[in-house]
């Protein structure tokens, strides 16, 4: 008897909650975000398909596109997570500089060594309170296509990417967990991460 009543209450609750959630899900995605990804993607492909570009210049172009497309300071701040508050203003400042250098060092080569990849937008959906997730497929000359989702935030009239999700794996989460591990290996000191970052980006002192 009791279990039956419990079951009924449970079913009713589920029905009500799915009902309540639906209007939020039905909210349409921002078409501006899709247009932004399309434009940024086209520009990136056309920049790096041009193989005549000297390396120095190509890396510089990458940096420009990175800032045009990504909210790098926001991502850096997000990746550091709760440790941001335990860092001094000087540390925050140096960390943000090193984070940007790490991103350029990590990703510039992949784009500069561009080898015929293309992409197509497969859809978009609202994400979180104010973001749009634009879903794309990156088509490679060999191997199966890769699903890449771009989390886009609309702020003060401009669109910026704040996270990239490759086959269900968030780059932001991966980096945050890695940094958290480095910090905890150094007794919870942000300075430990800063030193490791300095070493990684090949900067002394």
């Amino acid at each position: 008897m009791l279990t039956r009543r419990l079951f009924l209450v449970c079913a009713a609750l589920l029905a009500v909650s799915s009902w309540a959630v639906r209007p939020a899900a039905a909210q349409s995605a921002d078409p501006g975000a899709t247009a932004f990804i399309q434009k940024l993607g086209n520009e990136t492909v056309s920049t790096f398909a041009n193989k005549g570009l000297p390396r120095e210049q190509a890396v510089q172009r990458f940096r420009t596109l990175l800032y045009q497309g990504f909210d790098v300071p926001y991502i850096g701040r997000w990746v550091l997570g709760r440790y941001w508050n335990s860092a001094s203003p000087q540390q925050q400042n140096e960390y943000q500089k090193l984070f940007e250098q790490l991103i350029v060092k990590t990703y510039a080569d992949r784009f500069v060594d561009y080898s015929g990849e293309s992409f197509k937008i497969t859809g978009s959906r609202p994400e979180g309170e104010s973001d749009t997730m634009v879903t794309t497929q990156v088509l490679r000359p060999s191997g199966p296509p890769v699903n890449v989702d771009w989390r886009v935030r609309h702020r003060d009239g401009t669109y910026k990417i704040i996270d990239v999700v490759v086959e269900g794996v968030s780059m932001g989460v991966t980096q945050r967990q890695e940094f958290a591990s480095v910090i905890s290996q150094n007794g919870g000191q942000v300075q430990g991460l800063i030193q490791a970052l300095r070493q990684k980006v090949g900067q002394t002192g």
Binding site: L6, V9, C10, L13, L14, S17, P73, Y74, R77, W78, G81, R82, W84, P89, Q90, Q92, N93, Q96, L102, K105, T106, R110, E127, G128, D131, M133, P144, R151, R153, I162, D163, V165, E167, G168, V169, S170, G172, V173, T174, R176, Q177, E178, F179, A180, S181, V182, Q185, L193, A196, L197, K200
Partner: protein, 261 residues
């Protein structure tokens, strides 16, 4: 008399509230808010030791062997090896899709198995992919996850690499239930089983040669990177296409007034 009724109704509402809470707890994916995004890894010490041994084994033996394999064996032949191994795994994929209640996945895996076995010369040619039936692996660790089992502590297994308690159990069950293993065991040809395991390892390693080199070069803590990638990948495989559990990306109050330049 009246008191009893009131107490009873109070108890009833309390039970309903408790139930509502537990339902809400089940229905919502655990919010990965700030500071909470960590992988459950109580055995980090021993895991790091095994990880280091695996890394050494990879650098000294597995990666060099894979490099030779990629350099010597032409692309179409490597593709055939991959397709053949995947085809041998197909019965396991089908069974796991069925156990997960994923009939679409089971249909796809069955379609691939039939197509490649019959039209693909016993599983050597990947006719199925050409016909628009992409690879759709499934394993028992994933099945347990779909059934609602948590991952348990993160584990690094010797040679097999990143795993967790749930997936390690799943791997054991898959190995025991594998028709190919049962068959080789039955006809007394255990060598075939080892051969496939070795070939499968080299095949899988060859698919990610560049990616792993990149990750190793760019990571500050490669162990933590692999741990994070593994946990997220498994979550994604278990969730399938439904309800991705994305973390929160709040606006930061200090964001608009950054620390002095």
């Amino acid at each position: 008399m009246k008191l009893v009724t009131i107490t009873r109704s109070l108890l009833r509402s309390a039970a309903a509230a408790a139930l509502a809470l537990s339902v809400a707890g089940c229905a919502t994916t655990p919010a990965t808010s700030e500071g909470e995004t960590t992988v459950n890894d109580p055995l980090e010490g021993p895991n790091r030791v095994v990880f280091a041994v695996n890394e050494a084994a990879d650098k000294v033996v597995i990666r060099p062997v894979t490099e030779v394999y990629v350099a010597v064996v032409p692309d179409p032949l490597r593709q055939a090896v991959h397709t053949f191994i995947q085809n041998l795994m197909s019965p396991l994929y089908i069974a796991n899709h069925l156990l997960q209640g994923n009939f679409e996945g089971a249909q796809l895996a069955t379609g691939r198995f039939m197509t490649n076995t019959i039209l693909g010369l016993g599983g050597i040619a990947d006719v199925a992919s050409e016909a628009g039936l992409p690879e759709k692996p499934a394993d028992f660790g994933q099945t347990l996850g779909v059934w609602g089992l948590g991952s348990g502590p993160y584990l690094v297994l010797p040679l097999l690499g990143p795993s967790n308690v749930r997936d390690a159990v799943g791997y054991g069950v898959d190995t025991l239930g594998d028709p190919f293993r049962i068959w080789t065991n039955g006809v007394g040809q255990d060598g075939l089983q080892w051969g496939r395991t070795g070939a499968s390892g080299v095949d899988r390693r060859s698919q990610v040669l560049r990616e792993i080199d990149d990750l190793r070069r760019n990571s500050i803590d490669f162990y933590a990177t692999v741990r994070s990638l593994y946990a997220q990948q498994r979550d994604a495989a278990i969730r399938g296409s439904s309800a991705p559990a994305n973390p929160e990306f709040p606006e930061f109050p200090e964001y608009n007034t950054p620390a002095k330049k």
